[in-house]
Amino acid sequence: MSSIKDLLQEEKDAEVNLKTAEQQAESTLRDAKVRAAELIRKAQSDDALVKELTQRNKEKITALQASIASECQARAADTETRCKKNLKAAVLLVVNDVLGGNNER
């Protein structure tokens, strides 16, 4: 037969167990909050993805600049060829204009 004393002890043990459970619960929540804060802080400050994106963009720009430079080279070469070929016609255009009559003064 359990005595009153046993019952009181049981009650006391139960309280201690409950207190321990509450402390565990608090600890679990505290840990979760710390980990959540860490997760958010990392998302705010982790530059790895941004750096990777920036690096990819730099490579893209370099390729684009090279492509434009190549196009430009071709355009300049074409301009040079045309100008050389048509230089005489341009000279005659000027000479004829200077020598020509009926010019508005």
Binding site: A21, L29, K33, Q65, I68, C83, V95, R105
Partner: protein
Amino acid sequence: MSGEALKQEIRKGAEEKAALTLTEARSKAEQIMADAEVQAKRLLETRLEAAHRRLEQVERSEAAKARMECTRRVLVLQSRYVDQAFAEAESMLRGIPASDQAGYGNTLRRFIAEAVEALGSSTLVALVRAPDKKLVETVLRSLGGDSGASSPPPKVSISGEPLESMGGIVLLTPDERSYFVNTFESRLLRAREELRAKVTETLLGRE
């Protein structure tokens, strides 16, 4: 209820309450982590989107700069050939009076007629290059004959002061208040201003 049963009841109640407390705490912790993950993901997406927009802007700007630089280079090249065309034209014009007397005579005739018409005076003074004096005299003699105008041709005398020029003529009224400069230089100067676009088009073969 027996004492033992009562003890078990107390223990069971406490265990259930403790278990419930822990379960609730774990559930809340999971929710906190899930919310944090969503927030972190959104944050990262926002940062990446901003970085992406910024980098696209950089890319557009760099491409525009490269294209502008290319256009500038091609324009400088074109401009160099336009200048060369004018320089060679000047050189060719400089040789015309000596190399093509007949053609130059016709040119002078046109230049004089143009100046006479513009000035509209009955007497004029002509400034001519020293080597052109005889040629101009011949042109002036023939001027009245082929003008076809109802009014008599103006009386043009040649100034004793020679004209320093590549070619052409300057006509002025005796009081020197009106004059008409019709030299290769003056016409070339005008051509440089007015003909640049056309010369460029010709050089590029777009005519």
